[in-house]
């Protein structure tokens, strides 16, 4: 198994390194804009305002850190599961350059105010064309590697990888349809309530196809690799796979409850959101049951700790999400700080913890070395979990408090508080959230230092080693 296949791992190293850079930028910007909310004088117009920086924060996080590391691990995992070398290493190296160029172009144009306003897809059409080219190159390389595979059976991770490739393509092309006015300006091809419905079909399924399906592919690969025992049930993974990708696409309109889109679209979204608990928790149970007889590894194996906490946050996320998708609860909580609290449990908890585990497993292997310091790994873990929990819990309390104040009425039916009276009470929570963010940022510094030392210790010109 070691001799015949030489895997392309240099490009994996490149994607991991660059996704770390963008992930750090995303969290740094996140801390900065959280401070801007608490201290508005930190806004430095025209460029460094909350309104311009927030899209860069979200894009750097979802696409720079998320997609960047998914590209790394899709390339790494696909080669291992197919027992075939990457179809075209040259194309993959070009993809790495194009990826970084696209992220820089996206950030620079957003900073300059070239902005379509559509959440999680704000960049203007020339950048969108770069993204399409990037995705086509990536998809061809992965699909061709799968087609030319040496291992006939496709493990469940490959299913999730293939679904990501088509899912992202469909979502992105539809939502980015625009009427260009110039190189720097375009208008959405859809109007009003239609545009809203298309946007949240995209927005929520970006959560599916970028923040759920790829981390699941990674989870299903790295959990058995880390524990040394197989996944509990392949069949359960398959059932969860089909029901997840079928049901997710119905749920976008739960972001639009009580808005003027047709009621039946909202009701379907609400029903399917609740139904999604089943496939989500099938993956959670698959993870937990795989740990049967192995729970002691939570103490001994730092990789397992990251993965099991990650899947636990996924489980909590997929219970909280459907509850927010119910009309009555949405009426109360929507538009408050509760929602950023929810989102960051998914991104900082589920997605990032899973990616950290994958990086800790993969990097030493492809550099032919050991991790520099396991105590630092544990420090990273506890700082990350603490920072994320402070962030999310603070925001949940803030959201409930503001919602309660906004809804409070006097005996005559008039409102008890003005909007500003509810806002000024949020300042202490915003300070708390910034503290959580700073702790998370510190965890990343520990992580990056550890990774840097690990790579420095690697034997120069390391031989490619199969895992």
């Amino acid at each position: 198994m070691k001799q015949p296949v030489i895997y392309e791992d240099d490009v994996v190293k490149g994607f991991i390194t660059w996704s770390l850079v963008w992930g750090f930028v995303a969290v740094l910007l996140g801390v900065f804009i959280s401070l801007q909310l608490a201290w508005p004088q930190l806004n430095l117009p025209p460029y460094l305002t909350y309104g311009r920086l927030r899209p860069i924060h979200t894009n750097a996080g979802i696409y720079g850190w998320g997609i960047g590391s998914f590209m790394a691990f899709f390339i790494y995992i696909t080669q291992r599961l197919t027992k075939a070398p990457l179809w075209s290493p040259k194309l993959a190296r070009f993809q790495l350059w194009l990826f970084n160029f696209t992220i820089v172009a996206c950030a620079a144009t957003l900073l300059a105010g070239m902005n379509r306003s559509k959440e999680y897809s704000e960049h203007e059409w020339p950048v969108a064309i770069l993204v399409v080219i990037l995705w086509v190159i990536f998809s061809i390389n992965i699909i061709m590697t799968v087609i030319k595979r040496k291992e006939e059976q496709m493990y469940i991770s490959l299913w999730y990888i293939l679904a990501t490739l088509v899912g992202v393509a469909v979502l992105y092309l539809v939502n980015n349809a625009a009427i260009p006015v110039s190189l720097t300006k375009s208008y959405s091809a859809y109007a009003g309530a239609n545009d809203a419905n298309v946007e949240w079909w995209f927005g929520h399924n970006a959560v599916a196809m970028v923040l759920t399906v790829p981390p699941l592919a990674i989870f299903y690969y790295y959990l058995p690799k880390s524990t040394g025992v197989p996944i509990y049930s392949h069949k359960m993974g398959v059932i969860a796979f089909w029901s997840l990708i079928f049901m997710y696409l119905w749920t976008g309109a739960h972001h639009l409850l009580w808005t003027p889109i047709p009621d039946w679209v909202q009701t379907l979204a609400m029903a399917f959101s609740v139904m999604l608990i089943a496939p989500s928790w099938a993956s959670v149970f698959n993870g937990y049951f795989s740990m049967n007889g192995q729970w002691h590894q939570m103490r001994e194996n730092h990789l397992v700790k990251f993965l099991i906490f990650g899947i636990t946050f996924y489980g909590l996320q997929t219970l909280q999400g459907p509850s927010q998708a119910v009309r009555t609860f949405s009426a109360f909580i929507h538009y408050t700080d509760w929602v950023p609290g929810h989102v960051h449990m998914g991104t900082l908890g589920w997605v990032s913890l899973t990616l950290f585990a994958a990086i800790y497993y993969t990097l030493p292997r492809i550099y032919g070395t050991e991790i520099y310091s396991v105590p630092l790994v544990n420090l990273h873990f506890w700082l990350a979990v603490t920072g994320q929990l402070i962030f999310s819990i603070t925001m949940w309390i803030a959201g409930v408090q503001q919602a309660a104040m906004l809804n409070a009425t006097n005996p005559d039916g008039t409102l008890h508080y003005t909007f500003m009276e509810t806002l000024v009470r949020l300042y202490p929570y915003w300070h708390g959230r910034a503290a959580g963010g700073i702790i998370y940022l510190a965890s990343l510094l520990v992580f990056i230092y550890n990774i840097f030392r690990t790579i420095s210790n690697a034997p120069s010109k390391s031989q490619t080693k199969t895992a």
């Binding site: 508005p40 799968v146 679904a163 079928f246 009580w258 006097n410």
Partner: protein
């Protein structure tokens, strides 16, 4: 079976994705923005308003402000009439947003006089103490009109050469204020929410009421009417001799032509009565 056939897997996955997509994303095009749901009063944006809207988008205002009022008591009481699909048919893109760090703006048009917006955009805390909105004083720079005509053409909005000529000398601030003043005003909803008069002040001259009223006054009214009611941007209140219910009505509904904002959606009836009691107490001295 499937686990050995990647192409079949890809096709089936695509099919699975397209079912929900077709039903909940493509099919609604048949119902949303239907001719029958059109509202005759809803007009496309003028050149200046559209430029203002593009500045709103450029600055990412939608990251903190929503533009859709839900048919819920707290929303309707606070912001005004709930939003109708027909009001957004010219919005490309929509700007409903997802987070209300600041208040909803779907019905902001006509709520405050232009002068209020100019001051507030340049220095938000001068009008709303303790706000966390950044200053947008830099919008006083000249409006770039090189793309204006192409924008109107791209969206097929009607315009005349005169409209384009009128952009001469306008600032970005003029444009964004013009845009904000259009929001939510294409349907005649304000008239319907005017307060019923013939009410009596339930608080009168209770001293606790007057100190509550003083606090509300200093937060909401003093910026324009002066700390001692001596006047400023607004009238002096020292000579105004109105009965309580007239004060109530003016504070609740505003006086549009005189630039007095309406406070009916940001203050409760109790709060308005308390301010009224405070204003009347000063006059008595």
């Amino acid at each position: 079976m499937i686990e050995k056939r990647p192409v079949v897997l890809l096709l089936l996955a695509t099919a699975a994705i397209l079912v929900g997509t077709t039903i909940t994303m493509i099919a609604p095009f048949r119902w949303i923005n239907d001719q029958k749901l059109r509202i005759p009063g809803v007009k496309p944006y003028s050149v200046l308003q559209l430029e203002g809207r593009d500045i709103y988008i450029r600055e990412g205002c939608n990251n903190c402000h929503t533009q859709t009022v839900r048919p819920l008591l707290a929303d309707v009481e606070r912001y005004g009439e709930y939003s109708k699909a027909g009001e957004f048919v010219y919005d490309q893109p929509f700007l409903w947003g997802s987070r209300r760090t600041g208040p909803d703006l779907a019905r902001i048009g006509g709520k405050y006089p232009d002068a209020w917006h100019y001051k507030h955009m340049a220095n938000p805390s001068s009008m709303v103490p303790e706000t966390n909105m950044p200053s947008y004083a830099f919008l006083n720079r000249p409006l770039d009109t090189t793309l204006s005509e192409r924008k109107m053409k791209a969206l097929s909005y009607p315009y005349t050469q005169g409209d384009l000529d009128n952009l001469e000398g306008k600032s970005e601030m003029d444009a964004i204020v013009a845009y904000l003043q259009k929001l939510g005003n294409d349907i005649p909803w304000r008239a319907a929410t005017a307060a019923e008069t013939a009410l009596e002040n339930p608080f009168k001259s209770d001293p606790a009421t007057i100190s509550d009223g003083r606090e509300i006054y200093s937060r909401q009214c003093a910026k324009c009417h002066g700390a001692k009611m001596e006047g400023g941007a607004g009238h002096s209140l020292l000579e105004e001799d109105y009965p309580d219910n007239k004060f109530f009505k003016i504070i609740h509904d505003g006086i549009k032509d005189a630039g007095m904002p309406q406070f009916g959606d940001s203050l409760s009836s109790d709060q308005i009565w308390k301010v009224t009691a405070f204003i009347q107490s000063r006059k008595a001295k």
